[in-house]
Amino acid sequence: MLEGITFIIDNLPLLLKGAWVAVEITVLSILLGMVLGIFIAFFRLYGPKPVQKLLKFYEWVFRGLPILVILFLIYFGLPTLGLNIPAFISVILGLGLRSSAYQSQIYRGAILSIGAEQMEAGLSIGLSRIRTLFFIIIPQAVRLSLPGFTNEFTIVLKDSPLAYALGIAELLKQGRNIIVTSFRPFLIYLTCAIIYFLLFHFFYYFFRKITERFKVPGYLINK
């Protein structure tokens, strides 16, 4: 028992290094997905018709593919076309692009549910469209998006081990490396599971705090 604990403690720095990589992958992918997602949401709502169609197609494709297929296409497929993308960037691209398809739906839904009357009310008190967007629509859209965003964040976090498949030394891969030399899969995988679990709940709690911070009576907030 005691021996098991010291074994884990000895290997913990390596595992934590992997955990940090997992967090990096998650945060960067989510950020990429957020920037693209907001962009897509706006152009799907207000862009020219052909652009709307194109973005709908984009969502349709990325929501319909398994993430591992997307990653393999980018990392192993694109070099055939002469496009070599490093493994780490490939993972961010894959997870980020897929997440953007989901995040755009979160933001679009939020903007749609706010309703045209809020925009009209903004115009009626002399604000321009852009200023109404900033003072009225976006503050509400952010609040309405937070529960869905939290969910999306945790999904990307839990998909981050797929980076393993491209040989990136994230948490699961580090665990695997330790097992190869020590032959103690149960102990190591259990430790990995606990770390993922803690990471999940740390971020979940973090975003819940943010949601509560911006809570306004009358808006649906996840419990």
Partner: protein
């Protein structure tokens, strides 16, 4: 009535269609300073669209709208400045849901009129007090009743010192027991001399507060006149039957 009144709003041959559907078919209407005009008519006859044209939320396809001498349908008009002359009260209140009552009222003062925050909040509080809601200033829209929300909506519009107030069925989304408090505020406003254009089915209000009733149907003004004349001696049969029906439904008693 007063001797010589100035024209505040001129609506000249305004037409508006949505697709093939003609909603306004050449409306002409003059509104003088201090007028309280009630617009009635069956649903879908363009009453709300007319109000929304006056505020350029739905710009007219043809015709001109002059507010205080400025043609707001003309090119190169700064709509955001012109809209400040017109206060709009919405059927479903349209309060900014993420802002407290006081912030709803103060927003336009700070962001549009560029008032100092302290002054803006002082004025916002006075406006809330005017509609009897100073005690509720820290509440969010969802914490207020429908009647209270609508009164905040009125205060928000009034805060910008408009020349003209538009009411788009301000009480039709309210529970019956909440209608009175909103009508009271509107009545007080009329007595204070505000120029008002109200789309409403509240016949009691029309009878006791307005000085002109405009009956619209199918995008046209069928008839207009003083309440007494409209209720007791209308020229058109259609006006008579509509007023009869609506009075039965909503009551013609003083409210």
């Amino acid at each position: 009535m007063s001797e010589k009144k100035e024209k505040l709003l001129q609506i000249k041959n305004v037409k508006k269609s949505f697709g093939k559907n003609t909603v306004l078919d050449g409306i002409n209407l003059d509104v003088y300073k201090g007028d309280v005009i009630v617009i009635i008519g069956p649903s879908g006859t363009g009453k709300s669209t007319l109000l929304r044209c006056i505020n350029m939320l739905n710009p007219p396809d043809e015709g001109n709208i002059l507010i205080d001498g400025t043609d707001i349908t003309g090119k190169g008009v700064d709509l955001h400045t012109e809209r400040l002359k017109v206060g709009m009260v919405f059927q479903h209140f349209a309060l900014f849901k993420h802002l407290k009552a006081i912030d709803n009222v103060a927003l336009g003062l700070i962001k549009v009129k560029k008032m100092k925050k302290k002054k803006a909040y002082e004025k916002a509080l006075r406006e809330l007090d005017r509609v009897g809601l100073a005690d509720h200033k820290e509440k969010y829209p969802a914490e207020l009743s429908g009647g209270q929300q609508q009164r905040v909506g009125i205060a928000r519009a009034l805060a910008l010192d408009p020349l003209l107030m538009l009411f788009d069925e301000p009480t039709s989304a309210l529970d019956p027991e909440l209608i009175g408090e909103v009508l009271m505020v509107m009545k007080q406003l009329a007595e204070d001399g505000m120029t008002m254009l109200c789309v409403t089915h509240e016949m009691g209000f029309a009878k006791s507060v307005s000085n002109e009733i405009v009956f619209m149907e199918e995008g046209n003004i069928v008839e207009k006149g003083e309440p007494n004349q409209m209720f007791n001696n209308p020229e058109h049969k259609r006006t008579k039957s509509f007023l009869h029906k609506i009075s039965e439904l909503y009551g013609g008693e003083e409210s």
